[in-house]
């Protein structure tokens, strides 16, 4: 399944779909990092608004994406975790401890703008 990746200035925005298989997630992980390199992006926003289930694999993949992108010197913000999904994640014992999260795309962009404001 194709995940649309939108380039907006130095930020890449990847919009996850509801029904991503493990293979899709693995492919996406590599694809995103490659795009960050290609476009010299400073940040990636991963929009998971459409994801109705975040199980252990999806959550581990998101953490790995964030870590790989950090090694590249860019930042990842996960946006749009739905309240019900957040509840299920906590029940399941999943955390995204060292990954930045924001309410939605708008908040994610605002966070990055604020962060990069002083470095331009």
């Amino acid at each position: 399944m194709e995940v649309p990746i939108l380039k907006q200035g130095t930020v890449l925005i990847a919009t996850f779909q509801a029904a991503l298989s493990d293979a899709d997630l693995n492919q996406l992980r590599m694809g995103l990092v490659q795009q960050v390199v290609k476009f010299r992006s400073r940040a990636v926003i991963v929009d998971v608004t459409a994801m109705d289930v975040m199980d252990s694999f999806a959550s581990r993949t998101l953490r790995e994406i964030a870590h790989m992108i950090r090694l590249r010197g860019a930042e990842t913000v996960i946006v749009g975790i739905q309240p019900e999904v957040a509840f299920a994640m906590v029940q399941l014992g999943l955390t995204l401890e060292d990954v930045t999260t924001a309410l939605d795309l708008e908040e994610g962009l605002a966070y990055l703008n604020e962060k990069f404001k002083n470095t331009h």
Binding site: D52, V53, F57, Q82, P83, F87, Q91, G93, L94
Partner: protein
């Protein structure tokens, strides 16, 4: 409510995990579960199906309607003929995983659902039955 047959989803590879949890969510919503509870059920199915793929390679997820004395619920059975779990007590402890690729597995699934039963025979397979009652 019209009685409905059980739904069976064969789990042979990782895309089946998505199919199983989608069917589970749809069934839960049909049965009148809240969207939040349907998410918990779908997440539990995802983890159980994932265990099948990771440890047994193939197995079956069965969804059934269960009727209590004055309540209705959904039961999810995850069964496989895989290697079985040598130490169930250890597998039910948070943080335990032998495949290295899983998150927290069974203890998490137990927290997502109302009832949890597991039977496993080394060399014969594992069956996990979980239930959630409609609030």
């Amino acid at each position: 409510m019209v009685a409905s047959p059980e739904i069976r989803v064969a789990i042979n590879s990782d895309p089946d995990i998505v199919t199983a949890r989608q069917k589970g969510r749809a069934r839960a919503v049909e049965l009148g579960f809240s969207s939040g509870d349907a998410t918990l059920i779908a997440t539990a199915i995802s983890e159980l199906a994932r265990n099948i793929v990771a440890y047994a390679k193939k197995g079956l997820i069965t969804l059934q309607v269960v009727n209590g004395s004055n309540r209705q619920g959904i039961s999810v059975t995850a069964s496989d003929d895989g290697p079985g779990i040598p130490d169930i007590r250890q597998a039910l402890r948070d943080g335990f995983s032998t495949s290295g690729s899983l998150g927290l597995g069974l203890p998490g699934v137990r927290r997502l659902m109302d009832e949890f039963e597991i039977t496993s025979l080394p060399g014969r397979g594992t069956t996990v039955v979980v239930k959630k009652w409609r609030q």
